[in-house]
């Protein structure tokens, strides 16, 4: 019970946190590009767009930062047995994240936000790039930590039975990390592009500030196309890596109970819950699972039943099969939406090429609604990864069921769960209200701010930013 509650709390808080993180990473990068164009061309229009999207970024950063704090505290609060066991390895990238990324991100965000009229233009531009670098570094260390849970490397077990670091470089070259990190960075970029595209499309459809938002819509599309194309192959490669180190994860994603060679991939299935081993497959695509899991046309995939027997022989009795339903549908929702986003981006680029982007009501409407897709893809992607690791908290080393805090009661977790859910609802509602309001009316604010007297001398009164 306590363990289940702790898991629910972790799942809810981490999914929520990861709504905001990719927006921050993606938008920080795009805002830095906008400001770079402003710096190069001295076109005031790019300055107001930088400020406009910069404010959207800040609204998100606020909530991303505070929900991230919960994650850092939660390991010790709810998962003390896990923390005692892995702290010597897993704690290191978390501390490095704080030292290398958070200080950079937060200090330079303050400098950027308050420095418009204080800093030389070139230095001010550098501050937003420092923020973007901070977000990317932060994601890097978190992925290093997470990848270690998926595929532990560079450690040894000491006399007290704790994992301690034995080779720090192994963590950086862990294949699960290398491909997982690329996957997450691209996903964040795609998220940022789709948010920017949606806001731009909304204005273009209304016919307001058309020139400005045509520029940002174009930028979003130009970054989106290569990002999504590369992402599809990176995602595929990550699947191959995971099939090698965590075969259960990929076999469960196809609900593949029996071993097969070559293996087909079903477009949909009916049934296939926990005990249903013979779901009705709809449109099986021959060889596709072999290609996805092994990168070869006729590759073999070991089925869940055979893996379960192997794991029992190796780790003792127990159920080692992750939740097949979650795995099966997560990978599909992610991949299908990814393909739709690819089509959307190609459509947009074609319209750009024909110079009809601003007039295509249908494309603009679809683009506005497409803003929900990155959030669904990000969430299902992490569900696939994290739920697919179960029953392990650290693959092969510690089970989730043995990892929670013995001194924390269910009542305490109920209280914290209620407190977090309530806070998150309030924060989420306020964030949404602000994002929508600002998206609709924000440009007037950005214009007003830009029009305020800039640095007229050493003693000018700085604008009240907060």
């Amino acid at each position: 019970m306590t363990n289940d509650l702790a898991r629910w709390q972790f799942a809810i808080t981490i999914i929520y946190h990861f709504f905001f993180v990719p927006v921050t990473i993606g938008l920080a990068f795009l805002v830095a590009i906008l400001q770079t164009i402003y710096y190069r061309t001295d076109n005031q229009d790019y300055k107001r767009m930088t400020r406009f999207f910069g404010t959207l970024l800040l609204i998100n950063v606020a909530i991303g930062v505070v929900t991230g704090l919960v994650q850092e505290f939660q390991f010790g609060m709810n998962w003390s047995t896990y923390s005692r066991f892995v702290g010597g390895v897993f704690g290191a990238p978390l501390a490095m994240e704080g030292i290398l990324a958070f200080f950079l991100e937060s200090t330079f965000l303050g400098l950027w936000l308050f420095g418009w009229d204080r800093l030389p233009k070139r230095v001010h531009l550098a501050t937003i790039w420092a923020v973007s670098a901070g977000t990317l570094l932060s994601a890097m260390f978190i992925l290093i930590a997470n990848s270690w849970m998926q595929h532990p490397v560079g450690y040894k077990i000491n006399k007290q039975g704790q994992a301690v670091l034995s080779n720090v470089w192994a963590l950086f070259v862990n294949p699960t990390f290398v491909w997982g990190y690329a996957h997450v960075v691209l996903a964040s970029l795609i998220t940022g592009c789709l948010v920017m595209l949606a806001v731009s499309a909304w204005y273009l459809r209304k016919g307001e500030h058309v020139e400005s938002f045509h520029r940002t819509g174009k930028l979003a599309l130009i970054v989106l196309v290569p990002a999504i194309v590369i992402q599809l192959s990176v995602g595929n490669q990550l699947g191959v890596i995971e099939a090698k180190y965590q075969p259960m994860k990929i076999a469960a994603a196809e609900a593949q109970w029996t071993s097969c060679q070559p293996c087909s991939f079903s477009a949909f299935q009916i049934g296939g819950g926990a005990n249903d081993k013979t779901p009705t497959e709809i449109i099986p695509i021959p060889h596709l699972l072999s290609v996805l899991a092994t990168n070869t046309w006729n590759g073999a995939v070991t089925g869940l039943d055979e893996l379960q027997a192997q794991y029992q022989a190796k780790y003792g009795p127990g159920n080692y099969v992750p939740d097949v339903f979650i795995q099966y549908w997560s990978i599909r929702i992610m991949a299908y939406l990814g393909s739709l986003v690819l089509l959307l981006s190609l459509w947009g680029v074609w319209l750009l090429h024909r110079n009809r982007l601003r007039n295509s009501w249908l494309f603009l409407t679809v683009s506005v609604w497409a803003v929900v897709t990155p959030f669904l893809m990000n969430t299902t992607g992490w569900l696939l990864t994290e739920s697919g690791r179960q029953p392990w908290i650290v693959q092969g080393l510690q089970k989730t069921v043995n990892a929670n805090s013995p001194s924390v009661s269910s009542t305490e977790i109920w209280i914290s769960l209620a407190a977090f859910i309530l806070s998150y609802i309030i924060l989420g509602a306020a964030d949404l209200v602000l994002m929508l309001r600002y998206s609709r009316h924000g440009l007037a604010h950005a214009d007003a701010e830009a029009a305020e007297p800039s640095d007229t001398g050493g003693d000018a009164v700085p604008a009240l930013t907060y």
């Binding site: 850092e72 010790g76 609060m77 003390s80 303050g110 301690v164 001194s407 977090f420 009164v461 700085p462």
Partner: protein
Amino acid sequence: MQLHTIWFIIITVLWIGFFVLEGFDFGVGMLHRFIGHTEIERRVCINTVGPWWDGNEVWLIVAGASLFAAFPEWYATMFSALYLALVLVLVALFARGVSFEWRGKRDDRRWLAGWSWALAIGSLLIPLLVGVALGDLLHGLPINSQHEFTGNFFSLLTGYGLMTGVTLVILCLLHGSTFLALRTTGEIRTRAHAAARSIGVLAIVFNIAWCVWTLVVIGGGTVPQPTQIFGVIAVIFAQRLSGTGNDGWAFAASGFGIAAAIGQIFIALYPNVMVSSTNHAYNLTVNNAAAGHYGLVVMTVVAVLFFPIILLYQGWSFHVFRRRVSAPPTSSG
């Protein structure tokens, strides 16, 4: 010196950094409704900490993460023991963090007042609760031979812990008012001076009483530690200097006062990191709570390489925004 002792010092420095830096924005957060009478004055108060509060808060995050990396046992026992207190700290951190960013984004009286109170109460709760937590490390909590906490929420409310929390809140109030005096002009600055002088008296009384209590808790006899003497003198200086035109020195003095307060907890604690009130044999110490040697070497290299750079750019950020903040003459808010 052994690596785990070096990491104990680094963690002490991180906690000191957190309270010295975030301490003034806690103070400003608590005081902004009282020192700023109109909306525009309140915004001036909030904007004095605008560019920095987020960077200041990172010191807490890094202190927590470093604890996890360098002393996993300490992190695990402390965070699971302080469970409900930390839930409150987190909720207070939410309220405070987003109120900075969101408060001024809508021009609506109830929205402004709501986030304003969220900022004030959040800024009060965090130093109070973290203070209780740090006091408890030294006072001792029921911890068994497996380093597991065996008490409940009420075991956390030790007299010494509460006294530590209240003292830290008062020191943050003093630090916030000396900071406001340093960063503002006119009426706000005058009110900040008055606040610093009266809060300063309270701070001197509480600081002395708390130092005596610390000596009782550690059984240190009647001879005060040098850190304690230093801290009390610093707080007296901060009170005396406020309003005399030495805003910079008053602020430095209140900062030293906080640094000395945090310093004395950790100096009194060493070589323990958490005292067990059940049996001193179960104390967590720098020895039995530390991570492996190789991991500490790696972390030491990272800290030695990057902390100087962090201090440089954070220092630069303070330099860039060194000018006083005042209300724009033409704006109506």
